[in-house]
Symmetry: C2
Subunit: 478 residues, 2 copies
Amino acid sequence: MLARFAERIAARLPAAAIVTDRDAIAPWETDWRRRYHGHAELLLAPATVDEVQAIVATARAEGVALVPQGGNTSMVGGATPPADGSAAILSLRRLNAIRSIDAEAGLAVAEAGVILATLHAAAAAHGRRFPLSLGAKGSATIGGLVSTNAGGTQVLRFGTMRGLVAGIEAVLPDGSRHDGLAALKKDNRGYDLTQLLIGAEGTLGIVTAATLRLVPAVAGRTVAWAGVASPDAAMTLLRRFQRTTPALESFELLPAESLDAVLAYLPDARAPLASAHPWHVLIEVTDDDAPDGAAAVVERVLGAAIADGLAGDATIAASETQAEAFWRIRESISDAERATGPAAQHDIAVPVEAMPRFMIEAAAACEARFPGTRASGFGHLGDGNVHFHVRAAPGTDPADWYARQVPVVSAFVHDLVVAAGGTISAEHGIGQMKRDELERLAPPARLAALRAIRAAFDPGELMNPGKLVTLAPPGNPQ
Amino acid sequence: MLARFAERIAARLPAAAIVTDRDAIAPWETDWRRRYHGHAELLLAPATVDEVQAIVATARAEGVALVPQGGNTSMVGGATPPADGSAAILSLRRLNAIRSIDAEAGLAVAEAGVILATLHAAAAAHGRRFPLSLGAKGSATIGGLVSTNAGGTQVLRFGTMRGLVAGIEAVLPDGSRHDGLAALKKDNRGYDLTQLLIGAEGTLGIVTAATLRLVPAVAGRTVAWAGVASPDAAMTLLRRFQRTTPALESFELLPAESLDAVLAYLPDARAPLASAHPWHVLIEVTDDDAPDGAAAVVERVLGAAIADGLAGDATIAASETQAEAFWRIRESISDAERATGPAAQHDIAVPVEAMPRFMIEAAAACEARFPGTRASGFGHLGDGNVHFHVRAAPGTDPADWYARQVPVVSAFVHDLVVAAGGTISAEHGIGQMKRDELERLAPPARLAALRAIRAAFDPGELMNPGKLVTLAPPGNPQ
């Protein structure tokens, strides 16, 4: 099938869009964390939407599977092809024009292959910003960010991609083009296909472009660091900030051990506070909506928190350099903890109000159930989303940990999350990594609905097969 | 089929949930504007979600259609049963508990039958508000508002229901219960069923409850009225307000003739401005985010607009009574225009920036194409959503106008909207009124996707049949 598909595609697409060279394909067969390894004989890199349509229509006609790929920065193996070589990789990286930026309307139309950092720069050149950012911004593409409903550190104020996408253009699995780019603030013509395509992980069609909301550029920001006694205290502090200023952009929580891990990992990093605290909070407020300046607001709220004992100590970054240093601590936690030994990481969410209690109780339950392990969470407290890490007991064999113990630990954590009414995937998606856990834990009504929608769009499961949910339940022949 | 269904239901539901009395059913067989007349032998009014499940499961087993109904305030015949008596009405009005209000988290869980005004009052009792309102607030229910993605006059700031719903509980067409009430700010477990059910007009399942976002109660508001030369000038004024304050809640545009119609219709109404202007703008800003008070902001922006000629004149309501009087003018336009003679009304949207030009050009095109008619638009300028009315030429026979001329006029208007990249339904939905126009004007890819989704959930088209989109395209046997 693949050979005939390749032949038909060669007749329809320019040579530049067809990659068969093994060395050129190899980097895209493995996810960036090197956990999933696939194989593809063919990588297609269309430069126009017409070419995407030709590829998708031909693939359907020939029964060939396609694995869409942007920056290949999935945390859940969502863009890695199957190992059996049955699929072609469909790279959207060459479809990378910023079609328009309308500063007055606050809208940009960007093609799927536009890299997030490129969009940031383009918006800035128009006095605007696209208020979503994450560590992979130098690689992650708009198509992938849309298809995974990406989050990041500014969700607290602006929401995930779901709230920032005003319209989508996509090639549906039958090869037809869905043109939904018009930014209509109200549109009640039935089911919202834009929202359906966001977070669909490429299973319902190939996102080729998106209309994205821009916000005014920021005049400045105030970044602060506070030490608190507990996640509960951090939540109270968060609510005070939310009552005080709409310009609160980030509110990140981390335990002392995460800070210690970073300080050990980065020799030139310094603790923001001289005193020790069990928990730390990183706060960012922008200047745009605070007429007397963000710094005054932050100082007032933190001053009151110290005065009434809610915060043990706090400091405001005195310069942009210091602000960057605070953020560097937060952004280095994953790498730093990885350096301390093997761990099981979980991207989970529960209702915001329930998170402080969940963090404490889940960590205690994990440590009791798996003696010697250390469990803790850090991350986006205001989103109810923490990255919950369980570090292996000292001396654990890493190979045994990852192969045998992590699945048991993760199942235990996921059970706790479900019991708390939460989600086993807050911002990373399902991909292939969490597919079986979704199957195990999602209510049957939800799984049936996901399957019905997938089958309605792509009965042959040719679009990113094996990701998110399979059409045949496990145990049944596929 | 219906008799056997009724028999089985009688065995499973309490008597209070089953209505067969003709007089009791009659008011619910006709839409409130009395344009659509249906017939139903049976009205079911469950008081629990279990009862809804029993009804839906039994209906599917017996092949009986259900027409869900809340306050019966659809503008597009969306809740009126078919005329052939083949469907039962499923009224959600008795499922009307407010299950919880969490002021701190800013969340309320309300069942489908809760009336909007009741929710407003309950939120106010907790120092919060639910920031969506519309003329039918005394009748419209949460289930209907969710299922139609209702809009209203505060969309500018808070968005439609789509932005205010944090979670949904629904009974799916196979009788299973989807519990998606947990308010997770991040949840990437595949397709967003909450967003899919919003605006689905009851075709994908019965919404039984929703988790809704609340915002802080308002300390006060400033309501102003300005006279401007054109929709373009109004748009410039809107952008100035948006740059100045995030607390801009409403920005409604109306032409002089709409104001004149209201003044003629309401004997005790007075023009807000002494001078005449071709266009008028009603502005509301709340106090919550303006530290120096909303009035100061409004005064500053309007003062500058008068000084540089953008506005001809402007006034700020001196009291809450006067503010109410301004709003009464806006809310009386539809009734007032109806009193001046027959008209064709259209709930349309185009991209916000395109609306001023569209209003002028579409009105001119209509009047040229249908001599003697008068066309104008009024409404939510900041949403790109106007209610575009074409009034019949003087002396037109109303019966002939509605039966023969309105379809031609509306098709003409809809063609203009589509050419401008807009939508033929901004906030009212499709229902039965716009179904054929959606069929005529939507791109085939979009229609195919809508049908595929509907069929995936409800292959027998038993849930609100004949609304939104039918499974069989017109011309094919159904």
